[in-house]
């Protein structure tokens, strides 16, 4: 499972990086979204996530280490909110750029051929 997750993270990241290096703003925003998926999974992976680990606190806590590490999850939640916000913002800026510059190129002008 770890390997599959790692490959998943890697593929998301690679696709995302490829896209943010592209010249069109829409490509960049898709790339950033993919990257943020990759990073979110990466953060959870840093908690050495396991399948089926208990999440909620039971009456007797027992061994705390058998629980899924809650901290990375909390961090990811924060990261998700922030990346949601920034995606929205970037979208609007790219729309504004498109409206004012009449192009969807990331530099606000078509490259000279």
């Amino acid at each position: 499972m770890e390997l599959v997750l790692a490959i998943g993270i890697g593929t998301l990241a690679a696709s995302g990086v490829w896209l943010i290096l592209r010249p069109r703003t829409f490509q960049v925003i898709i790339g950033l979204s993919l990257l943020s998926y990759a990073v979110n999974l990466f953060i959870v992976a840093m908690g050495r996530a396991r399948t089926g680990a208990p999440v909620l606190i039971a009456k007797e806590i027992g061994d705390p280490s058998k629980y899924a590490d809650p901290l990375p999850q909390a961090l990811v939640l924060t990261a998700i909110v922030i990346s949601f916000a920034t995606t929205a913002l970037f979208l609007v800026v790219l729309l504004a750029s498109r409206g004012l510059a009449r192009t969807d190129h990331v530099d606000g002008q078509e490259p000279e051929a």
Partner: protein
């Protein structure tokens, strides 16, 4: 214990509440109230920061445990000399900027004052927090507010610059997350002090991962600090921003610089075991490269605001290089320099618009806005020009320009000179008297002298062009609340020069404690909870 100690949270809480309160007021119709609230809040922040600075100068660190949770687990705010200094600097700059904006710029778009308060909240939080992930949150907050403020006034130039600024910073934020989580994965903690305690004990096979995390994290910080080659977004963005925004942005790179300074000494100082001194060479050479690049840019800039942007690079490069040298003396000089150059550059960005205003009649900077929006121009021109033109405007502007130039170039008689002297004297005389001048000292000497020279050339060129070389210039209409902030910032530079002794003493104390992080670690980790963990437990 509470009472005065609770003041530590005020720099975060006050802007939060002020900003929220402004949202409940009607931004358009009650603009005066909103603006007054902003000025009042910022003024209060300056006072609070001053009190905090006085508190910190007793040498004790105030550790504020949010939610009353013990240190490595809950988030803590740590007030020491460095954070207090940065707080005061930030809010002083902010005060100048917000007063300046009242003349006309705050009307160039919606929600300026709320965004401004949130920028302050982000900056203050970033300077105070002792938690790595909380730092991320405040970074994001200040960045989000800076996106908004950069785009304030809109227009093609700003939107284009903003697009780059946002993309680059979003990418850097992702790196930040990767770095923080990697460090957490290896060490199991997010608290900076706890991290410092754990770094020496990291298992050898995990050390590579730890340092990789630190490296990635450093890239995120250095991008914000504007280190070459991660700095190309900066001059364009700063030049595009409206003047009060650009002015407060002068502190933004310093957040990156601050955190690099703080963390490199805390985590990778001499007590860091196998990782001691991690990355310091990169900082030194990267910082020097940044100075060189900034200097070249300064010379190559035709646009005055862009010149200011490159000066920002020189400034942060200098502090980064000084951090890379890693001596307490150099650090104290760097701190002195940081304060001086930030104030100078902040004043310069405000001034740029005032002097450019008169240079080409009719080509007001607000034209950037008009170009995009045609008739729907919000800024009420008539009202904007009603302001009384100050007598001897040109003279004042000229004096202010010279003041800024002198501070930025590091020439006498203002604080920039003392700053460079403090930096170089320490860099040339490492610890023992007998010792030869180290290579880093030479490099810093050469680069700083040359960059000072280049700045002088560029500034004189710009000054001549602006003030004297255009015969058809009209005397700009400048209002007192526009000129006042510039003079206010420059007067602080003057005060910093005259009171250089006490100031440098403070900086040295700051640097000493930065270079001896054991005290920080024990202060943070050993602070007890206020009695009774919660108001009322179960």
């Amino acid at each position: 214990m509470s009472g005065i100690a609770d003041l530590v949270i005020a720099p975060v809480l006050l802007p939060l509440l002020a900003g929220a309160g402004m949202l409940l007021l009607n931004g358009e119709r009650q603009r005066a109230v909103v603006a007054g609230l902003n000025v009042a809040a910022t003024l209060a922040l300056v006072c609070i920061a001053a009190v905090l600075l006085a508190m910190s100068d007793t040498g004790t660190r105030e550790v504020y445990r949010l939610g009353n949770w013990p240190a490595p687990f809950g988030i803590v705010l740590v007030l020491d000399r460095l954070s207090a200094l940065m707080l005061l600097l930030t809010n002083v700059l902010a005060l100048a900027s917000v007063v300046f904006s009242l003349a006309r710029w705050h009307r160039a778009g919606a929600h300026f004052h709320s965004l401004f308060q949130y920028l302050l909240m982000g900056l203050n939080g970033a300077f105070l927090t002792g938690d790595l992930f909380n730092l991320f949150v405040f970074f994001e907050l200040l960045l989000a507010a800076s996106y908004g403020l950069l785009l304030h006034g809109s227009g093609l130039t700003r939107v284009k610059a903003g697009l780059h600024y946002i993309v680059v910073n979003l990418a850097a934020s992702l790196l930040f997350l990767v770095g923080v989580s990697l460090i957490y994965g290896v060490t199991g903690t997010l608290n900076m002090a706890d991290l410092a305690a754990r770094v020496p004990t990291v298992a050898p096979e995990s050390r590579g991962l730890l340092e990789a995390g630190a490296g990635v994290l450093a890239v995120a910080f250095l991008l914000k600090a504007g280190m070459w080659p991660l700095s190309f977004w900066l001059p364009t963005a700063y030049a595009a921003a409206s003047p009060p925004v650009a002015s407060i942005f002068a502190i933004m790179t310093k957040v990156g610089v601050y955190i690099v300074l703080r963390l490199s000494l805390l985590l990778f100082g001499e007590g860091a075991g196998a990782s001691a001194g991690f990355g310091s060479d990169w900082l030194l050479w990267g910082g020097l490269a940044t100075i060189v690049f900034g200097t070249i840019g300064t010379l190559a800039s035709q646009d005055t605001a862009r010149l200011g942007g490159f000066s920002v690079l020189v400034s942060s490069g200098t502090v980064l290089a000084a951090t890379g040298i890693g001596q307490a003396g150099v650090t104290s000089g760097a701190l002195f320099y940081l304060v001086s150059s930030t104030l100078g550059i902040g004043a310069f960005f405000l001034l740029v618009e005032l002097i450019e205003r008169g240079r080409e009649p009719g080509a007001d900077v607000i034209a950037v806005t008009r170009e995009a929006y045609g008739d729907e121009d919000e800024v009420d021109e008539a009202e904007g020009d009603v302001g009384i033109a100050i007598v001897a405007t040109m003279g004042l502007l000229g004096v202010a320009f010279i003041g800024c130039a002198v501070v930025i170039a590091g020439l006498p008689p203002l604080s920039g000179f003392i700053a460079k002297f403090a930096l170089l004297a320490a860099a040339l005389n490492p610890g023992d008297r007998s010792g030869a001048v180290p290579g880093s000292g030479w490099a810093l000497l050469v680069v700083l002298i040359l960059s000072g020279f280049a700045t002088l050339v560029a500034m004189s060129r710009a000054g001549l062009r602006i003030f004297w070389a255009s015969p058809d210039r009209t005397v700009p209409r400048v209002r007192a609340i526009e000129m006042g902030p510039v003079m206010f910032l420059l007067m602080i530079c003057v005060a910093q020069t005259i009171l250089a002794g006490p100031v440098i003493r403070f900086m040295q104390a700051t640097a000493q404690s930065l270079h001896a992080p054991a005290g920080y670690v024990s202060d943070v980790l050993q602070t007890g909870a206020r009695s009774g963990r919660h108001l009322e437990g179960k």
